[in-house]
């Protein structure tokens, strides 16, 4: 896992050393990559421009890449059309609780599968990992039935619980734990530490990197989740932010400034997490191949 790391810091220092402009073939490649990057970033720019453009400028037939002035009132206007405060409370609560639950149970299980020998270990682990490829839509129907039998429809836990044990997270944690030397655990055992004490005092402090990746990936998944919440959250008061966005498209089809302003707001948390913890994102995706 370590060597697949996309070393942002290393790249930064190299970039500084190479501040001179590229020549020849490199120059052509560089120009093409910059043009590509402009195309890639344009949709986000367009989202921003639409969100802050005065609404009457949108449909007057004049095409302009820049708004005449910034209409920040679009945001409050759109915010008040739907219970967005409620949607954000739901989304934030679900993402945060899910992060804690997912990290805790996968860390404990991943450590156990890596460091204990017990009958049935390999069978259970393989059965869990083999579900990596099962998409939610295949099991959506029975999963919905079970979740509703547990009385979790329209609740935070209905979104959190079914996704709390991630095959991906388990796999990643196990790979990480295998690299922790057994001697550390044995030494703690000789010192009379309890098994959970070993996990808490020896393993947990060493698990920083894998916890960071798991935290960030879980946050992103739960924040962006759509298909499962769409099924399980049926009252508007239990909606998450993506469901609210979808509702807006259906209800106010022409209110594009409103949709873009709320859309922009919805991606800001994940963009902030990305700016500060970029390397963990990249590491999570590069080492598991999961988005």
């Amino acid at each position: 896992m370590e060597n697949t790391l996309y070393t942002a810091t290393e790249a930064k220092t190299k970039g500084r050393r190479l501040s001179r402009l590229p020549r020849g073939k490199d120059a052509v490649i560089w120009v093409l990559l910059v043009l590509g990057a402009i195309v890639m970033v344009f949709p986000l720019y367009w989202m921003f421009v639409t969100a802050v453009r005065p609404q009457d400028e949108l449909f007057n037939g004049h095409f302009s890449l820049f708004p005449s002035h910034l209409a920040w009132s679009n945001f409050t206007h759109a915010w008040n059309k739907l219970p967005w405060t409620r949607f954000y409370i739901n989304s934030i609560a679900i993402a945060l609780i899910a992060v804690v639950a997912t990290v805790f149970i996968n860390l404990l299980a991943g450590y156990t599968f890596a460091k204990y020998r017990f009958p049935g270990r390999d069978i259970i682990f393989l059965a869990m990992i083999s579900t990596l490829m099962v998409p939610i839509q295949v099991i959506m129907v029975p999963e919905f039935i079970i979740t509703s039998k547990l009385g979790l429809v329209n609740s935070w836990w209905g979104v959190i619980l079914p996704r709390a044990a991630e095959a991906f997270g388990l796999f990643m944690v196990r790979q990480f734990m295998v690299s922790i030397p057994d001697e550390l655990i044995e030494a703690a055992r000789l010192d009379g530490a309890s098994e959970f004490g070993i996990f808490r005092r020896v393993i947990l402090p060493l698990s920083g990197p894998v916890v960071a990746v798991l935290v960030i990936m879980t946050f992103m998944w739960r924040w962006n989740d759509f298909a499962w919440p769409l099924v399980i959250l049926q009252n508007q008061s239990s909606y998450t932010v993506p469901l609210g966005l979808n509702l807006m498209k259906g209800q106010y089809f022409t209110d594009w400034t409103g949709i873009m302003s709320m859309g922009l707001l919805s991606i800001i948390p994940i963009l902030l997490v990305f700016v500060f913890f970029q390397r963990y994102f990249i590491q999570g995706i590069a080492s598991t191949g999961l988005k």
Binding site: N3, Y6, G15, P22, D26, I29, L33, V34, A37, M40, P43, L44, W46, M47, F63, L108, A109, Y116, F118, I124, M128, T131, M133, V134, P135, Q137, V138, I139, M140, V141, P142, E143, I145, I146, T147, L161, P162, A164, A165, S194, M220, W223, N224, F226, A227, L230, P242, L245, N246, W256, G263, I267, I270, L271, Q278, I282, I285, A286, G289, L290
Partner: protein, 314 residues
């Protein structure tokens, strides 16, 4: 305490009938603790994965609308599936979408990764820019795309008009709705494939290239005979993941076109959702889901074998 003692201890203790929980636990915790530690995980997996997987197979053999209990009807749902024109249309749409998105986004991802693996100014920033669409929600991405592809006020038609081309009915015509979805998907997925390839390219040791340079391999030949073969395992992984993503696409299409206009962009997964939660035909929906899953498993195994044979041959 050696292993033999640990193993024998509980039996003798129980026979002796004393010692208390504390000392019993002291001797046995290493055997019991692993199961305790995996219990939360196991419970969640069982309830929300293992049982639903078996359940999906079972429900697919029944007629059930969630009200009352399921009636067993054998393989009738599967028979219905193969004679349902909508199923085949959704199958066709899924196929077109997959073929339209997978090779293109892999090729673009590899190209950009190779470019950004060179020492170029600002490459860290460029990598981030290419990667950002991956992390934003598919719902937000779909809304941006729907607005940009808007027939009357979308920026894409405005740009076409600016260079003297006619507007295209992107999302309101059955011809152009699918291409719009494919273009949007490329935007979202390019950075994902780029990151995986970039990690693989950085894993290739410089000595390999030094050796290739001595042998005089350059440009296309260097790529064809050195880089590409070394990337084979990565390409296999990327291919499988991309096919899975494309086959199971839901959020993007649900928000962007809702499967329309008409039935023109309804894919299998969307059809499953409609049949289950709008028509209330749980059995039929499950049958399609099971079919889809089996199809992908077969494909993955086939792909894996082909790749392995390729490796053995070379």
């Amino acid at each position: 305490m050696n292993v033999e003692q640990v193993r024998r201890a509980p039996a003798t203790r129980r026979a002796a009938g004393g010692g208390g929980f504390r000392s019993w636990w002291g001797r046995n915790q290493r055997k019991i603790v692993p199961y305790l530690f995996i219990t939360p995980n196991l419970v969640v997996f069982t309830l929300f994965m293992f049982i639903p997987i078996i359940g999906a197979f079972y429900v697919s053999l029944t007629k059930w609308s969630l009200i009352g209990s399921p009636t067993f009807i054998g393989i009738e749902n599967y028979v219905q599936m193969f004679t349902d024109p909508n199923f085949w249309k959704a199958f066709y749409n899924t196929f077109i979408y997959t073929v339209g998105t997978v090779p293109t986004s892999i090729a673009l991802g590899l190209l950009v990764a190779m470019g950004l693996n060179r020492r170029l100014p600002g490459r860290t920033l460029l990598r981030s820019i290419y990667f950002v669409p991956v992390i934003i929600s598919l719902v937000a991405a779909a809304l941006i795309a729907a607005w940009m592809f808007n027939d009357n006020y979308g920026v894409i038609n405005s740009l076409l008009n600016a260079v003297g081309l006619k507007s295209v009915h992107w999302l309101s015509s059955a011809t152009w709705a699918m291409p719009s979805l494919i273009i949007t998907t490329l935007w979202i997925r390019l950075g994902f494939n780029m990151v995986i390839y970039l990690a693989a390219l950085q894993g290739i040791s410089p000595e390999v290239y030094d050796a290739a340079n001595i042998d005089g391999a350059k440009g296309w030949k260097l790529f064809r005979y050195v880089t590409w073969p070394l990337l084979a395992p990565t390409t296999f992984l990327v291919l499988i993941i991309n096919i899975i993503y494309s086959t199971y696409v839901f959020d993007l299409i649900y928000v962007m076109t809702g499967g329309g206009p008409g039935f023109s962009t309804t894919v299998l997964v969307q059809y499953v959702y409609q049949e289950a939660f709008q028509q209330g035909d749980m059995g039929y929906a499950s049958a399609i889901g099971v079919f889809l899953y089996v199809l992908l498993m077969v494909f993955t195994l086939f792909q894996w074998r082909v790749t392995r044979q390729g490796e053995q041959a070379s």
